[in-house]
């Protein structure tokens, strides 16, 4: 576009529309956000339709159409509860055994395991959901949400988005982290870094509010709880200790309230069995009640099961009594984490609130009491994580002096004789880390050794999460105890684990390296990636249309400002030509086809060619007016 090539002296050229940018994404249990930062001022990207920053993490599958995401999906809950999936983050990397029922019914339809897996392995395998006739993994459903966020960012920024910093709860285990990274891959996003949510929040406070000293970040979201203790000093963010519960959040408050309502029904109507749709609606009602009671003393809600509606009154104090044990559980974790960090509340410069559930008054008052100070919420607790992620995305792609040093949330160990666990990497170890442990054979002539990788704090294998099992083979036959097998655990800066094993005495370089899987194998993932490529082509068409519109809009804006300054250069005929060209572009922009838009812009470009030349002449003339020869060289060096 000719007009765009001319810039007033000192004016920065408009960045090219096809530059790809990196964004920060907070993929939440209840709500998700996408944010972008340039020049360390992060901004949440809002919906072009209603300006909302939060995208409800809800997906609705209607017939053959593309799945709906966000508010549109949530609006389907009343009419099509069987086609709506929410709180999918709770199932990331989880097995069927981890799911939480309401009155014995799950708010999901679980697909049967096609392998019929035996009892022990069944819970290790990530659960599959049946939604509107499809079988979907939580990874695919999360990918759909991420895809929506990517689109929102592209529309808001008018640029292609291919890279992102994605946040995860600090207490997410390896399976859930890997599942999140894979979901992003399916959504066409390269994950620059997985950042822990409380750490991202601290980043936003440290860079934006210039917070310095040791802080606690209390992050209670929809489905997860994290507490991190960080030292923040001169752009260094060093996590000292972290703790949490990956299955404790605002959703659990909803569960308690819904259970209370159902118990009241039971007194009147006797035992009932609920469908999973009724469970979803009861939970939605409970959530509404919880939200209303944030600034309301009491209220009345309706629950419908089997066509019979009942009324339930709930007051704020009753709500607080019901959720008190859950809040107390987070306080216990805080106390333990403070002890891990070897600090007391008095040593802290402050405590930061993160997550929508910190709006619950009881949570705020308990946090204030435990940490003996008024908690900080200057940055919106629901947006702060995405803002921090955007800052990190900018730092990673544009360069920065900031340094983020995080730790492993859970101990990584190996199963030894008798189902006991030997810890290889203890919790709160700074990452990246690599630690080795030596083992030996226990039978004469043993040529293979089974290695079972587990994550968690308990002493026995079956109380922890199993991450991977593999076998080191090709050990040369020796007497028991003579072989020296070095097992190495490496955790990278994303908190992801790789395990390798090697027999050392004989120099036999038998090495096995595994990345723990979470129940989706490489083949399945490859299929998902292929499928997403098909969609990506459809998406690409849409993306090119968006780009064409953005380019056209930009050309019109440039023309407008050029006309405002130098319009007097134009003769009537030429001006008419340009105005016709503008009208054609505007009309093409209304359509859904990018070619007419591009053609109209090109035609307009042609029409303004002479005008642009005249402007250039005038620009040079103006630049030279009253300029001495000495100054001329200076002027010519100005980037234009």
């Amino acid at each position: 576009m000719t007009l765009l090539d001319i810039h007033e002296p000192g004016e920065t050229p408009v960045p090219h529309a096809r530059d790809d940018v990196a964004v920060g994404i907070d993929l939440g249990t209840t709500n998700s956000l996408v944010a972008y930062s340039s020049q360390t001022s992060p901004e949440v990207l809002r919906s072009g339709r209603d300006g909302a920053s939060l995208v409800p993490s809800v997906v609705a599958y209607l017939d053959d159409a593309r799945p709906l995401v966000g508010v549109d999906a949530r609006n389907q809950l009343l009419e099509n509860p069987d086609r709506v999936v929410s709180s999918i983050k709770r199932l990331m990397g989880r097995g069927a055994g981890d799911l939480k029922t309401l009155a014995g019914t799950l708010p999901y339809q679980i697909a049967e395991d096609p392998d019929g897996g035996d009892g022990a392995n069944k819970s290790d395998r990530m659960v599959r959901l049946k939604v509107a006739g499809r079988t979907l993994t939580p990874v695919e459903i999360s990918a759909t949400i991420l895809d929506h966020l990517r689109e929102r960012a592209e529309q808001a920024l008018g640029k292609v988005v291919t890279r992102a910093v994605v946040t995860v709860p600090a207490y997410f285990d390896d399976a859930a982290r890997t599942a999140t990274r894979d979901a992003a891959r399916i959504a066409g996003l390269e994950v620059l870094r997985l950042v822990n949510e409380p750490t991202a929040a601290a980043l936003a406070y440290g860079l934006d509010k210039k917070a310095e000293g040791t802080y606690a970040v209390y992050d209670l979201g929809g489905g997860t709880f994290d507490i991190s203790i960080l030292r923040m000093h001169m752009g260094v963010f060093q996590v000292v200790a972290t703790g949490g519960d990956a299955a404790l959040g605002g959703d659990d408050f909803d569960h308690v309230i819904a259970e209370k309502f159902l118990a009241e029904r039971k007194l009147k109507h006797g035992a009932e069995s609920l469908s999973s749709e009724e469970v979803k609606l009861a939970l939605a009602t409970a959530r509404l009640a919880k939200e209303c009671l944030t600034d309301q003393d009491s209220g009345e809600w309706h629950v419908e099961v089997g066509g019979v509606t009942t009324q339930h009154v709930l007051s704020q104090s009753e709500l607080e009594a019901a959720i008190a044990p859950l809040v107390e559980r987070t306080m216990e974790i805080c106390r333990a984490t403070l002890a891990d960090a070897d600090v007391t509340a008095k040593d802290l410069a402050g405590v930061v609130l993160v997550g929508g559930s910190t709006r619950v008054p009881l949570v705020r008052s308990q946090v204030a009491a435990l940490f003996q100070c008024e908690p900080l919420s200057d940055i919106n607790p629901e947006e702060v994580v995405a803002l921090g992620a955007a800052l990190q995305a900018e730092a990673l792609t544009q360069g920065s002096d900031m340094l983020l040093l995080d730790v492993t949330p859970l101990s990584l160990g190996i199963e030894t004789m008798g189902g006991l666990i030997e810890k290889v990497v203890p919790r709160n170890t700074a990452i990246p880390v690599a630690r080795g442990q030596e083992f030996t054979t226990y039978q004469d002539g043993q040529t293979a050794m089974a290695i079972h990788v587990v994550q968690g704090e308990r002493e026995m294998v079956d109380q922890n999460r199993s991450l991977a099992r593999f076998e080191l083979t090709g050990i040369p036959p020796m007497v028991a105890g003579a072989a020296r097998i070095l097992v190495t655990y490496s955790v990278d800066a994303d908190g992801l684990l790789t395990v390798s094993a090697r027999e050392e005495t004989t120099g036999t370089e038998q090495e096995v390296s595994v990345k723990p899987s979470y129940g989706i194998d490489e083949d399945e993932l490859a299929t998902m990636l292929r499928d997403s490529m098909v969609h990506a082509r459809e998406d690409m068409t849409e993306r090119l249309l968006v780009e064409a519109r953005v380019e056209a809009e930009r050309a019109l804006l440039a023309l407008d400002s050029a006309l405002a300054v130098d319009g007097d250069l134009l003769e009537k005929k030429e001006r008419d030509n340009i105005e016709t060209g503008v009208a054609v572009v505007r009309q093409a922009m209304q359509g859904d086809d990018r070619d007419p838009i591009n053609e109209a812009v090109e035609a307009l470009d042609e029409a303004v060619h002479h005008f642009a030349e005249q402007r250039m002449d005038r620009g040079i003339r103006d630049a030279l007016t009253g300029v001495t020869v000495d100054q001329l060289d200076e002027n010519m060096k100005e980037p234009t």
Partner: protein, 214 residues
């Protein structure tokens, strides 16, 4: 694992002092962290933890200096600095950052710092000696402290055990400073073993104090 590598590393460092940069093939010092021709990050080579963090190999250590050196090196080598770099540079950065974390952790505790320093002085030395107590005086001290901890019931009694352990640890640390300064490695080794036991009791006492609080 770094422990076994460090001995090989110092040996090879004596053999060759220069090598070729993996990226531009220019000559670089084996100790160089970045190529002085093309500026690319060099592979993480085995060395002792003191050298890694640019510190003198001595027992006495200012915690602030340790912190400063660690942060300074991580600012240059952390994988976040190489997030958009090609795979080879990412791998080198990951290995550097891992080694820096290890060095920071080992030098941060006086007990593991003492053991590491003994190893730097004598690479053949294996620190298996610390598994058995052959010092009768230490044996008695440890047994007495264990009994005191086992019978401690009040927070005050537990605190007394912690104080006694802390005092013995501090005494041990100043002994180590002197022993290393005078190059009395046998003495340093027995003090390091002593420190291991005292650290363990101190940790157990703190754990008991914590569960007592809850």
């Amino acid at each position: 694992m770094n422990d076994s590598q460090s001995s090989d590393g110092s040996a090879s460092a004596r053999e060759a002092t220069e090598t070729a940069c993996w990226s531009c093939d220019g000559t670089v010092d084996v100790r160089a962290l970045f190529c002085h021709t093309c500026g690319k990050i060099q592979p993480c080579r085995p060395t002792d933890h003191f050298t890694r963090l640019g510190l003198k190999p001595q027992f006495e250590l200012d915690p602030d200096e340790l912190e400063r050196q660690y942060i300074g090196f991580q600012r240059r080598f952390h994988p976040d600095r190489f997030a958009t770099a090609p795979a080879t540079e990412k791998t080198h950065s990951l290995q550097h950052a891992t080694a820096l974390n290890e060095a920071y952790a080992v030098l941060g505790s006086s007990q593991s710092r003492a053991l590491h320093l003994l190893e730097v002085h004598n690479p053949e030395l294996k620190n298996d000696a610390s598994t058995t107590i052959d010092d009768p005086e230490l044996l008695i001290l440890v047994m007495e402290m264990r009994e005191a901890l086992a019978s401690a019931e009040t927070a005050g009694q537990i605190a007394e055990v912690i104080d006694a352990a802390t005092e013995a640890i501090e005494e041990c640390q100043s002994g180590l400073t002197k022993a290393f300064a005078a190059d009395e490695l046998d003495l340093a080794q027995s003090l390091a073993a002593r420190l291991s036991y005292l650290d363990k009791i101190s940790d157990e006492a703190r754990l008991k104090a914590r569960s007592h609080l809850n």
